[in-house]
Amino acid sequence: MIFHAEAIITPREGVLDTQGKAVEKTLTHLGYKGLEEVRVGRIVTMRIDAESGDAAAEAVKNMCQDLLANDLIETYKISVREA
């Protein structure tokens, strides 16, 4: 079965996020009030052929651990749905 999978990778708490700070500053300049913190991450999407949704999620988890995320500075969340 083909699944659509998504890994959302974000900077870990406590890790300096220069990109997030720059975006936050510009949003504030645009007049948005009450912003306390902006963090910027990335989304990796893929179509993946697997036996089940769990198997697809497991494969994406391994990809995150092997390459997509650096566990020292980033965390990730995975979502999978039938394509």
């Binding site: 890790v15 300096l16 220069t18 990109q19 720059a22 390459l67 997509l68 650096n70 020292l72 500075i73």
Partner: protein, 237 residues
């Protein structure tokens, strides 16, 4: 001292390093494409050069750290031989976990290309053995992700173990620290080594300050001579 330079797609300081080493140490340097799985020359020193491997996609150095040649690089380092990563090479070393930490985006949010002044913090390793502890040298920097990061407890351990080899400094007073780091690097760290002192990663480029006609200064020449000396004298211990 036999030297090899690994070339990744997007490396752009590979020839500079080759030339700096070959001209300073009067030796030939093997260039190794990242898809190779071994070194032909059984090198004593392997250098991961600066540049933008794989376009810095995903994270700087992330894809290069998973290249076929990396298994041979790890074996080389595990055997106690010398491994040097400069700029993008340093990022590759942290991505392979051969050195701790990560290099984050500069706090300026900009790419910084200029001369930088760094203080030699310790000489108890193979690379700065021939330099003077406390001396300030000038090697240029050229990077967008040069902010050295390590969680506080691990950073303290790294400091205690004397593994911070270079720190950004004021060239006039010799004072070093975070306030002199152009990129916001924690504790002003510009270069670190592993426990054994046979792996070094640094953000500034000594190869850009090796031959005088490049106008980047000549402090880098002493660095290559220092490695050769460290290799000859410390290996004999």
């Amino acid at each position: 001292m036999k030297t090899a330079v690994v070339v990744f797609p997007g490396s752009n300081c590979d020839r500079d390093v080759q030339r700096a080493v070959s001209e300073t140490l009067k030796t030939s340097v093997e260039m190794v494409w990242h898809e190779e799985t071994k070194f032909a020359s059984e090198p004593d020193l392997v250098i991961l050069p600066g540049g933008f491997s794989y376009g810095d996609y995903l994270r700087s150095g992330a894809m290069a750290a998973r290249s076929p040649i990396i298994a041979a690089v790890k074996e080389h380092a595990a055997a106690g031989k010398l491994l040097l990563g400069i700029c993008n090479g340093f990022q590759v070393l942290t991505e392979t976990k051969l050195l701790p930490g990560a290099l984050l985006t500069n706090t300026t949010t900009t790419f910084i290309c200029k001369r930088s002044y760094i203080r030699v913090e310790q000489t108890d390793n193979f690379f700065t053995y021939g330099l003077k502890k406390g001396e300030v040298v000038q090697y240029p920097i050229a990077h967008h992700e040069g902010l050295y990061f390590l969680p506080p407890a691990e950073l303290e351990e790294l400091e205690k173990a004397g593994r911070v080899v270079f720190r950004y400094a004021d060239p006039n007073t010799g004072e070093a620290g975070a306030q002199y780091a152009p990129n916001g690097s924690l504790n002003g760290i510009a270069g670190i080594c592993n426990e054994k002192g046979n792996i070094l990663g640094l953000m500034p480029h000594p190869e850009r300050a090796t031959v005088s006609h490049l106008n980047g200064g000549t402090d880098g020449a002493a660095f290559w001579l220092s490695i050769a000396r460290g290799f000859a004298e410390r290996s004999a211990c």
